[in-house]
């Protein structure tokens, strides 16, 4: 590392979240945390470790199992001047809180003609890791069409830090989607209090044969697939979406225009998913292009290890999809 390079520290994803929160709470007394087991336990994934000890029970509040009121209170407090983060341990249970989030929070600025707005961050953990049909869902695609909602989804420790800062700065409701399998991953996080800008995707890996557009844990799957494909001489470009609403279509489109092939990868269900949306928007930008989309098999995600693995998108799925896409001539009318 050159002496002028920005300094950074290797942190676990979960530590990067805790650091962003600690800094925000030091800087702004309006930042409070509401969630189940966020207090002395420090969060189901230790992503709130140390905050209760530092900031006390008034600012780091353990809550009962009451997701509707948790988010309602967070949104209401935000509208009245605080900047709360509400932690929903499993994204599945965002369902219980969609009413305050979507029917109130997302519409507040609009319906009051700008008099009120709700700078609340709802942090929800998506992804499957052995916990069964009701603790494993990735529901991002439901949220990206809600006017007034911003949705971000970091894929690594640096973005976990930088997007959390940006989400807490944002003057409207943000859903911050993390992933069970990312918490124990480590990465270099800049020591400076940098933000990852909302609304901007980034190219994680350069390649000129195919573009893989994905987010969150999908970036790690894509990277493993790209490694395998590189051994065959296929160079994949990986675009990490980072923000899902608003989507940075331009970055995906310009990569896809260059590579001529687009594979989308998400852990959620495919129908009306992010892949469908990206394919539409990219084709709208650059015209016909070969596209394949990858997501979960159309089934609930069992906690059974074998069934879960068979349901989730895999490295192999990506490898096969890229290979098949490239076997097709670019002008082939069948873009399956």
């Amino acid at each position: 590392m050159s002496p002028d390079a920005p300094k950074s520290t290797r942190l676990f994803f979960r530590e990067a979240i805790a650091r962003a929160l600690a800094e925000a709470m030091h800087a702004d007394p309006r930042v409070v945390i509401l969630g189940q087991d966020v207090g002395p336990l420090g969060g189901a994934y230790r992503e709130f470790a140390g905050l209760h000890a530092t900031f006390g029970a008034s600012r780091v509040r353990d809550m009962p199992v009451a997701e509707n009121a948790m988010v309602g209170i967070g949104v209401g407090a935000a509208a009245a001047g605080l900047r709360p983060l509400v932690s929903i341990t499993y994204m599945d249970f965002v369902m219980l809180a969609l009413d305050p989030l979507v029917n109130y929070g997302a519409k507040l600025r609009y319906k009051t003609g700008g008099q009120l707005h709700a700078p609340v961050v709802v942090k929800a953990t998506a992804g499957a890791k052995g916990q069964g049909v009701a603790h494993s869902q990735s529901l991002e695609s439901w949220l990206v069409g809600v006017p007034g909602l911003t949705v971000v989804a970091p894929s690594n420790a640096a973005d976990a830090y930088g997007l959390m800062g940006a989400a807490l700065d944002h003057d409207g409701p943000v859903v911050y989607v993390d992933h069970k399998r990312l918490f124990p991953t480590a990465g270099d996080v800049p020591d400076a209090p940098v933000r990852v800008p909302i609304g901007r995707a980034t190219v994680r890996r350069r390649g000129d044969n195919a573009t893989i557009a994905t987010h969150s844990y999908g970036c790690r799957i894509a990277d493993a697939a790209a490694d395998r494909l590189a051994a065959e001489g296929i160079r994949c470009e990986i675009v990490d979406l980072r923000t899902l609403a608003p989507l940075d279509v331009a970055t995906v489109a310009s990569s896809a225009a260059r590579t001529g092939a687009l594979v989308t990868l998400e852990e959620g269900q495919l129908p009306c998913g992010l892949g469908a949306e990206l394919a539409y928007r990219v084709r709208e930008e650059i015209g016909p292009i070969r596209v394949a989309r990858i997501g979960a098999a159309p089934a609930p995600i069992s906690g059974n290890r074998l069934l879960e693995a068979a349901t989730l998108p895999s490295v192999e799925d990506v490898v096969v999809a890229v290979r098949r896409l490239l076997e097709r001539p670019a002008t082939n009318p069948r873009t399956r």
Partner: protein, 308 residues
């Protein structure tokens, strides 16, 4: 607030709604007529530090809180001069700068929001308290339970004000809700609760005052149930399901006539005085209508503003 001021406030709501209901652009509205005493009695106990939230039946609460009738009428009739620029309408009327944090048309949906506003006041040690007016219908919703529990745990400066008009659209309270008194719902949480005659504005005011003092002193939430009557159909678009006889009995409980009678008995008002107050209220309502009518409609460009 003097008893005469309470009467004026109730008359203002009644006249406002009478004018609105016959307006050609009235559209879909939920009227508060019959239930004025609940809103007026509650608001009489509030200061400018406080915030009020309501259900979609928001006209009474908004006017009782002191919002400008012209601006409210403009909002209801979709004019740009409404506090929400005509975008919110009845169901989402709001003017937080005037202490009315707003209506929310989701039944029970404003309860946890109100608790959040109360939490913000508590955390920032601001002087105000929060009142949430909701219907008996909201008492079937789990949101009430979740919010009561958290308000009690955290001793939030929050008053739950249940406007129990006995109906959720066409469903009588007894067919929707098992509790004998709705205020009983607060008891398991250790929240002080009382049921009063919601047609008696003085009883509502006094009960609110007591609870408000507790809340201001940091002693936490309370639950006030006022038993009221809805004079109109559920909404201006809903058919009436109650019989003419029922309606006659209901209208006989008019909270305005009741307070006026008390004041007459006590020699503070006579028939001429009441007529004058009624005329004043009707004039004010007419001015509100005129203001709204003279205002431009909501700007269509607003659909792209204040979205995110």
């Amino acid at each position: 607030m003097s008893r005469l001021a309470l009467l004026r406030s109730m008359l203002a709501i009644r006249a406002f709604e009478d004018a609105l209901a016959v307006h050609p652009e009235c559209g879909f509205q939920l009227l508060s007529s019959g239930e004025e005493a609940l809103a007026v009695g509650v608001c009489a106990a509030l200061t400018s530090d406080d915030q009020l939230l309501s259900s979609g039946r928001s006209i009474g609460p908004a006017l009782a809180r002191g919002l400008d009738p012209g601006a409210v009428m403009a909002e209801l009739l979709g004019r740009a001069t409404g506090p929400c620029k005509g975008k919110g309408g009845r169901g989402h009327l709001a003017q937080p700068s005037a202490g009315f944090f707003g209506a929310h048309a989701v039944v029970g949906g404003n309860l946890s929001i109100a608790a959040g506003v109360a939490l913000a006041m508590q955390v920032e040690r601001r002087p105000g308290i929060v009142v949430c007016i909701f219907g008996d219908g909201a008492c079937g919703a789990g949101a009430l339970h979740e919010t009561l529990n958290l308000a009690a745990l955290w001793k939030l400066p929050l008053l739950f004000a249940c406007d129990n008009n006995g109906w959720s659209i066409s469903t009588p309270r007894a067919r929707a809700l098992a509790p004998r008194r709705l205020s009983d719902l607060a008891t398991p949480f250790g929240i002080p609760a009382v049921t009063v005659d919601g047609m008696d504005v003085l009883a509502v005011r006094d009960a609110t005052q007591r609870f408000a003092e507790r809340a201001r002193a940091g002693e936490g939430p309370a639950f006030l149930e006022g038993v009221t009557e809805r004079f109109a159909t559920h909404s201006t678009a809903t058919r009436e399901t109650r019989s003419a006889d029922e309606m006659a009995a209901i209208r006989a409980r008019c909270p305005i006539r009741r307070l006026a009678a008390t004041l007459e008995r006590d020699g503070e008002l006579d028939a001429a005085g009441l007529a004058r107050l009624e005329r004043d209220a009707a004039d004010a309502a007419l001015r509100a209508v005129r203001f709204a009518e003279a205002s431009p409609p909501a700007d269509i460009a607003e659909i792209a503003r204040d979205v995110a």
